[in-house]
Structures are given as structure tokens and as C-alpha cells.
């Protein structure tokens, strides 16, 4: 058996693991990255990236099928035809390009990447069943970045026509009908995309409203759009089972109905991957189903670190990346802590939702009196020219010192505004800072400026 020694061993090549590896390599640490599958993890292979590719394709084809929008522009055309196999090939090409890119970046940073399944022996050694044979690795620092996987429902085990998000992204043709169990952000993004691609979609959610993690004001435009797209929504409903092209559902009153659906997508959340790789041998302290970490991502064992989804919510790629980068710098001797003010979250529904910082209710609970400024896109010129007047930007600030506590937006393309929102919160902007910044005209970002002005009681364009 080969024996390999290194300074840092990273288990898992997702956004957390590969970023940790790149930074560790750049800092001159002898680094080994082990990944059982393809580099890039859930995000790059079966999550963020392919789903956004699919959403883009769905938007592209759907835009051609909305006659009233096109007619207004003076455009008319024959019904479009979709070659879904080519859509998927295009999506896969993007994923492959990014896979290769990550590999190249790791190489450039002098990281040794091993493809294989790691089994932890203790906090300083692991056994890897690699392509090149069994390999034993000794390290000084171990970084656990094993991520998460879709959660299964006992009544709806994955397989056959019951799909996880991973399998839904790998479909080779658009199903005629699709039942989506779970109206969280994954279910909503994919459900809306498949609806635009032509599937008849039914959403089934156990809670009384869609996207329950966001406040209702934010999700209302998405609810309206669902109706436009002809997506049926069953709220307060429980999925009981799937057989013979029908999903059995108990509605809020307990009455059973059957929803005809070729496929059922189960998107009820994700579960930390904490078993199957010898983690038990380390006996680390857990925080519920997750690995417990401190503000430096240290676990209960010295020089064993954990980053990303395996450490719990929010399960976001950018959180894992920031944690990975920080851990590499700590291992290299830097003094760092995960002390960020804001963790942006984006929901790529139609329209998109951005949430950074505290929503009004949470802000009130934490800081007492608050100021709220909301600016609707229907008063924004650029939004009009993009036929995207639905939605708004909303700013919440402390009433006493005007420090911005939260910025939320819903609207087409607002995901790109998240950079400005996060920067404002991280820099500790006050309403006056946002109000005193010139926002280019004509852009949708002006709504951010106006929302701050409105919170200060002096809006211009409303």
C-alpha cells in the first residue's frame, strides 16, 4: 500500500473543499484533495450550475411562447421547437467546462487531487480507494467537506419515476406532467423551469405557503407567476405515495386526492453526509444531524476542521467557499474567524428573490424600532423596458442610528443586485450611505437607492 504524507487533507471536492484546497496550495501548504466523484460537488455537478443552465434554457424557450410580451415588442413567430437532448448536452458541456476548470485551478495551486472514496481512520489518517490503487494518507490537518445529499421521504423512496433533484436535472426528456413535493427553493426553481419547458406541474407543500423561509411579501410575486404559468399549488398537503402515474396526496383536511403525474420530484430538503466514510471513528461532537463547529470551523478534535453543508444550515455554496478559504488561512497560521455580518441567499425562481440580512419582523425582534423602505419596480424605468415590472427592493434599518439591517428584493434578475446588498451590510452602511451613493441610470439598482431614500422619508420617484 502506498503511503502519502501531507500537511492538509481535504475530504470532498465541492465548493468548500476545492476552495480550501486552492487557497491552501497558494499559501504553500502541502495539500491533498480527495473526491469520490467529479470535482465541484453538488453545486457544480447536480445543483446550482446545472439548475441555472436549465432555468436559462427554460426561460429562453418560454419567452418565445408568451405572445402578449412579444406582441408588445412587435415580434411574432411560429411556436418554437425544443430539442431537449441538445439542451441537456449544452448544460453538461458547461458543467464539464467548470469541472475541468476546477481541476486546472487545483493543479495550478499545486494541490494533489485523488479520485476515490476516503475512509477516515482517525483525525490524522485516511484510507483512499483511489483509481490508482489503495492509498494511505497521513496529514497534520484534516478538513471534512463531505457536503449533503437530497433527503428522502419514507413514502417516496428515490428510484424509478420518483426523482431527487439530481435525477431531475439528468432527465433526458421533459416529462408531460410533474408533481413536485416540497415548495422550498429547490422544488420551486425546478418546478417553474419544467413548467416553462412544457410540463404540467403541480406543487405539493406541507406548510401553508410556498417558500416558507421567506416572508410573504417577498413570495407574493412568485405566487402570482406560478398562477400565470398554470402551475397548480396544493398547500398544507402531505404526499402519501406514488404509483402508476399518480401521486396520492392528503390535503389540509385529510381528504385524499390523486395527482396525475408521469414523474414525482421530491425536494424536501438536504441531509448532511456524515456517514459512510468512517466519521464515526473520530467521535466528533455533533450539533443535531450536523458536525458542530466554532467560529473558526474547528470541530471538537484538534486540527480537524469541517466546512460546508456537513456543518448545517444555511447550506449554501458561497458559505462553504468562505469557510474553506478561512480554514486554509488558519492552517497557514493566519488569525481568522467567520465573523460575517450577512449571508446572502438567492432563490432563482421567476421572479428571483434575494435575501440579505434581517427581514422586518426579525429586525424588529432584534433591534426594536425599525425603518422600512420599499420601492416597486413598476416605478423603475429600466424594469419597464425589460418587461419586468413585478417585484421590489426593500430595505430595513434601525430607527435609532439608521444602520441597514436587511435588504430584500424580488424581481427578474435581482440576483445580480445581491453584491451591492451584501457589500452594504458587510461595510455597515447606514441609510444615508446608500442614499448618498450614485446609482447608475437606467438600471434596476436604482430601486435600491430609492428604497433607502424612502426609508429616510424622502423618496424621489414614488
Amino acid at each position: 500500500m502506498n503511503e502519502l504524507r501531507c500537511k492538509v487533507l481535504i475530504v470532498g471536492g465541492g465548493p468548500g473543499g476545492y476552495v480550501a484546497a486552492i487557497r491552501a496550495g497558494e499559501l504553500g501548504l502541502d495539500t491533498v484533495l480527495v473526491e469520490a466523484d467529479r470535482l465541484g460537488g453538488t453545486c457544480l455537478n447536480v445543483g446550482c450550475i446545472p439548475s441555472k443552465a436549465l432555468i436559462h434554457a427554460a426561460d429562453a424557450v418560454h419567452a418565445l411562447t408568451e405572445p402578449h410580451s412579444l406582441n408588445a415588442l412587435g415580434v411574432s413567430l411560429a411556436p418554437p421547437a425544443l430539442d431537449y437532448a441538445r439542451t441537456i448536452a449544452w448544460k453538461d458541456a458547461i458543467v464539464l467546462r467548470l469541472n475541468t476548470g476546477v481541476g486546472a485551478l487545483l493543479k495550478k495551486a499545486h494541490v494533489r487531487s485523488l479520485r476515490g472514496r476516503a475512509t477516515l481512520l482517525d483525525g490524522k489518517s485516511a484510507l483512499v480507494n483511489a483509481d490508482t490503487g489503495e492509498q494511505r494518507i497521513q496529514c497534520e490537518h484534516l478538513v471534512i467537506a463531505t457536503g449533503s445529499e437530497p433527503m428522502e421521504l419514507a413514502a417516496l423512496p428515490f428510484g424509478g419515476d420518483i426523482l431527487s433533484s439530481t435525477q431531475a436535472l439528468a432527465l433526458t426528456e421533459v416529462p408531460g406532467s410533474l408533481a413536485v413535493v416540497g415548495a422550498g427553493y429547490i422544488g420551486m426553481e425546478l418546478g417553474m423551469a419544467f413548467a416553462k419547458l412544457g410540463a404540467r406541474v403541480t406543487m405539493v407543500e406541507a406548510l401553508p405557503r410556498i417558500l416558507p423561509l421567506y416572508d410573504e411579501e417577498l413570495t407574493l410575486p412568485v405566487t402570482r407567476r406560478l398562477a400565470d404559468l398554470g402551475v397548480e399549488t396544493m398547500l398544507g398537503a402531505r404526499a402519501l405515495g406514488f404509483a402508476k402515474g399518480a401521486l396520492r396526496v392528503a390535503d389540509a383536511d385529510g381528504a385524499e386526492t390523486a395527482i396525475a403525474a408521469e414523474k414525482a420530484l421530491v425536494a424536501v430538503g438536504r441531509r448532511a453526509r456524515t456517514s459512510g466514510f468512517g466519521l464515526e471513528a473520530l467521535d466528533l461532537t455533533m450539533a443535531g444531524p450536523f458536525l458542530r463547529i466554532d467560529d473558526r470551523c474547528a470541530t471538537s478534535m484538534r486540527n480537524v476542521w469541517a466546512i460546508g453543508d456537513v456543518t448545517g444550515e444555511p447550506m449554501l455554496a458561497h458559505r462553504a467557499m468562505a469557510q474553506g478559504e478561512m480554514v486554509a488561512e488558519i492552517v497557514a497560521g493566519g488569525k481568522r474567524a467567520f465573523d460575517h455580518v450577512a449571508m446572502p441567499a438567492i432563490c432563482f425562481t421567476d421572479p428571483e428573490i434575494v435575501a440579505v440580512g434581517l427581514a422586518p419582523d426579525a429586525a424588529k425582534a432584534a433591534h426594536g424600532e425599525v425603518l422600512i423602505g420599499l420601492f416597486p419596480f413598476r416605478a423603475n424605468g429600466r424594469a419597464m423596458t425589460k418587461q419586468a415590472e413585478e417585484g421590489f427592493v426593500r430595505v430595513v434599518a434601525r430607527a435609532d442610528n439608521h444602520v441597514v439591517l436587511g435588504i430584500h428584493a424580488v424581481g427578474a434578475g435581482v440576483s445580480e443586485l445581491s453584491a451591492a446588498f451584501s457589500l452594504a451590510l458587510e461595510m455597515g452602511a447606514r441609510l444615508e450611505d446608500v442614499a448618498g451613493t450614485i446609482h447608475a441610470h437606467p438600471t434596476e439598482s436604482e430601486a435600491f437607492h430609492e428604497a433607502a431614500l424612502k426609508a429616510l422619508g424622502k423618496p424621489l420617484h414614488i
Binding site: R336, V341, D400, N401, V403, E426, M427, G428, E432, D433
Partner: protein
């Protein structure tokens, strides 16, 4: 569809304005007819305002703490099927508050010659929103406020940002603040005591009753030429009497405190000193002397100091005094006292019971001219008949408006009260037979 304006009603005689102390509804709410929409406070009584129409709330006339003139719009309601309210009639000059705050130097509209003792001058113009705190110290538990670059630098240099004072807006710690801290770190404390400075700062908006108290107290302090007079009273005999009465207490005649006896003493004494049972209208240069003794009893309530009034104390017996005092002070504490029960006193009695201290300097409840304060009872050695004997004594600390009450009169009034208390039987002898 009709827009109905509900105006600030005339909530009491001589009241020109009222302060909004609570909104029960907000813009957009649907209201039923007769539903209470707001609570407003006049001099001291709080009144709930119902809506006469059903509909949707369109606008509120002000925020909590705002003072609205009687007749100005309190709330606007969209009432389907009702005609629009007519525009407000031109107001009588002087009755309404000017739209814009008058400059401080402008003459202030005074309410018509004060009919109620607690009426006050027009309140100051509505406070502008408080300026944001600049460079405020951080309350405990609040994260220090700094950009990521400053936070990283602090971590690298081992500085805990919680100890760095921020000079930026809202207390933000700038790079310069941090560098200054690094260059000249505060001297290490000589010894760790386990104690830490607390940087908490809490801002409390003064509204409602607290604002009334503040205004009344300031006005009294500004206008009245206070002087205080403290005298020691031997209450041994009175305490003996009280103890024997209380030993035979029944449900109809419950145990008594010292106060009902003092009320009787004051009632008896003011009969000979009408100048202390009076109101002084210092704007009109008029002194009004009263035959009746409406005794204000300073009472601590959950929301602050109130002065409920025992009316016509001169017509009450000892137990009636006790019962009436209990009733009005309980009503004040529960917040259910009527307006008449909170105004119209002619002289005030204030007691902190066991907390009474040795002496105090009460503030005259303007436009009254006298207030009698009660201090705690203590056992003291008193020189009597060639030897020290233990006697229960108590101080009376009283304040008077020196503009209209002379020191000589005040002193003889208190001496009269003292004599009555020291010889408690005299409290119960009819005036004409005494």
C-alpha cells in the same frame, strides 16, 4: 365610497388639545362602527376614542406622543356608502395649535384662565425625530461595527474590537480608530476585578403621563417661588389611638393608616388659614380661596406619579376619608380614575410611608399654593419632665408658594397641624365647640 374624517373630540371642559397615547389600529385596518381606534390623554385623564363609522383606515393624524388640537383630524376612514366629510371649518383663533411649530420666542397660547389645577401651557412643538447617535458607546452584546478589512486587521493584531471606540457614523470603527488603539492601547487595568464597564445606553421617548409629569413639574419649579418648612411632630398619642382603633378593626371600619388623621388635621387647620387652601392664577393675578377642601393625594402608579383627589374632605369622617382615599388612589393605580377624580384639588398631601425619610422638599402642585409632606415615624429620645423618654416622632416637610404665602403664615399653619396631631382628641371636637 366616502372618506370620513374623525376629528379630535372635545374630551373635557376647557381642553384645547390632547395627546395621542395609543393607536389600536393602523393604516389599512378594517374597523367596525364603535370600535376603539385610539387613546388620547388630556391633562391627566385618558379617553378612548371610538369610530362612528365602519370602513378602512386611510390615514392617522399623528403618531404616539403627538399633541393634536381639538377639532383637528385624528383619523381618516374610507367608509363605503358615506358622503365625504366636509373640509374642516376655519378654526377659532387661539384654539388650535399652529400648523408649523411656533418659534420659541413667540408668545405661547395659554388656555383660558385655568379651570383645572393641572392644566398647563401649550406643549412645546412636536419634537423632531431624534438625531442618530454618533459615536455612541455600544450596549453590551452588540457586535462591534467595522468593515471586513478592519475586522481582519484587528484579528491579525490581536485586538478585540469590542474595546475599541468607533468614531464613524453609528459608532463604526474606522481603520484610523483601530490604528490609534494599536498605537496607544489603554492602560491595562492594575488588577482584574471581574468587573467590567457597562456601555449600555437606552433612549426612552418621554410620552403620555411621563411627559405631563415632566411639564407640570418643570412649570411648577419655574414659576413657583418654593420654600420648604420642616417641623417635628410627636405622634405618640396619635399612634396609641391608631393602635387601639386598629385593634378593634372590622370589615366596615378597616385598619387605618396615618394619612386619614393627617387629612382631618389639614381640614381643621385650613379653616383658619384659607390662604393655603387656594389657587394662584399667576397670569391673571388672581387668588381663589376655597371653602371646600379637595385634598390631592400624591400616588405612585405603574405609569408614574398621579394625584387623585378626595373631594370635600371637610365633609368626611375619619373612616370616610380613609375609604375615599383608598378608592381614588386604587382607581388611579388601575388607570380607571375619572377625570374629576384626577383634577380639582385645592391642597395636596404627599407621603412615601416607610420610605418617607427624615425631610423632603415637595414640589407644589400648581396652581395650588401648599403641599404637605409626611416623613417616616421614628422613636427618638425626647427631653420631658427632667429626663429623656422614648417618643414616636415624625417630621412634616411642607412647601409653599412664597409669592402668595408668607413664611409666618405657613409656619403657624404647620404649627396648628402639629398641635392637632399631638392632641388627637382635638381632631374630633367640632370646630365651634373647640
Amino acid at each position: 365610497m366616502g372618506q370620513r374624517s374623525i376629528r379630535m373630540p372635545d374630551v373635557g371642559e376647557g381642553v384645547a388639545e390632547a395627546e395621542i397615547v395609543e393607536w389600536s389600529v393602523k393604516v389599512g385596518d378594517v374597523v367596525r362602527e364603535d370600535q376603539v381606534v385610539a387613546a388620547v390623554m388630556t391633562d391627566k385623564a385618558t379617553v378612548e376614542i371610538p369610530t362612528p363609522v365602519a370602513g378602512t383606515v386611510l390615514a392617522l393624524g399623528g403618531g404616539v406622543g403627538d399633541v393634536l388640537a381639538v377639532g383637528s383630524e385624528l383619523i381618516r376612514i374610507d367608509a363605503p356608502g358615506m358622503p365625504d366629510s366636509p373640509p374642516p371649518a376655519p378654526r377659532k383663533s387661539g384654539a388650535a395649535k399652529p400648523e408649523t411649530p411656533a418659534p420659541a420666542a413667540a408668545p405661547v397660547d395659554e388656555a383660558p384662565p385655568a379651570q383645572t389645577p393641572a392644566s398647563i401651557a401649550s406643549p412645546p412643538p412636536r419634537a423632531v425625530p431624534s438625531a442618530p447617535q454618533i459615536g455612541a458607546p455600544r450596549p453590551p452584546g452588540e457586535r462591534p461595527f467595522a468593515s471586513p478589512a478592519v475586522r481582519a486587521r484587528a484579528r491579525e493584531t490581536g485586538v478585540d474590537l469590542r474595546f475599541v471606540r468607533g468614531s464613524g457614523p453609528a459608532g463604526r470603527i474606522t481603520r484610523d480608530d483601530l490604528e490609534a488603539f494599536i498605537a496607544r492601547p489603554p492602560e491595562a487595568p492594575a488588577k482584574r476585578t471581574g468587573k467590567e464597564p457597562i456601555m449600555a445606553v437606552e433612549t426612552i421617548k418621554v410620552v403620555g403621563l411621563r411627559r405631563r409629569i415632566a411639564q407640570n413639574m418643570a412649570e411648577s419649579s419655574r414659576r413657583v417661588a418654593h420654600f420648604s418648612y420642616v417641623e417635628e411632630v410627636d405622634v405618640t398619642a396619635l399612634e396609641d389611638l391608631r393602635a387601639s382603633l386598629n385593634a378593634r378593626a372590622t370589615e366596615e371600619r378597616p385598619k387605618l393608616t396615618m394619612l386619614p388623621f393627617l387629612m382631618l388635621a389639614i381640614v381643621k387647620a385650613v379653616a383658619d388659614f384659607p390662604q393655603v387652601n387656594a389657587h394662584y392664577d399667576d397670569d391673571g393675578d388672581v387668588i381663589t380661596r376655597f371653602g371646600a377642601v379637595h385634598l390631592g393625594v400624591a400616588t405612585q402608579t405603574p405609569v408614574g406619579l398621579m394625584v387623585p383627589v378626595v373631594r370635600h374632605a371637610e365633609a368626611l369622617s375619619l373612616h370616610e376619608c380613609a375609604r375615599e382615599m383608598r378608592r381614588v388612589s386604587e382607581a388611579a393605580r388601575q388607570g380607571v380614575a375619572a377625570r374629576e377624580e384626577l383634577s380639582g384639588s385645592t391642597i395636596t398631601l404627599t407621603s412615601l410611608g416607610a420610605l418617607g425619610g427624615v425631610a423632603s422638599t415637595p414640589v407644589v402642585n400648581r396652581p395650588e399654593v401648599a403641599i404637605v409632606g409626611v416623613n417616616k415615624i421614628v422613636v427618638r429620645p425626647v427631653w420631658r419632665d427632667g429626663g429623656f423618654v422614648p417618643r414616636k416622632t415624625m417630621n412634616l416637610s411642607s412647601s409653599f408658594d412664597h409669592r402668595v404665602v408668607d413664611g409666618y403664615d405657613a409656619a403657624t399653619f404647620i404649627q396648628r397641624v402639629r398641635t392637632l396631631i399631638e392632641t388627637p382628641a382635638s381632631l374630633f371636637i367640632e370646630a365651634n365647640s373647640f
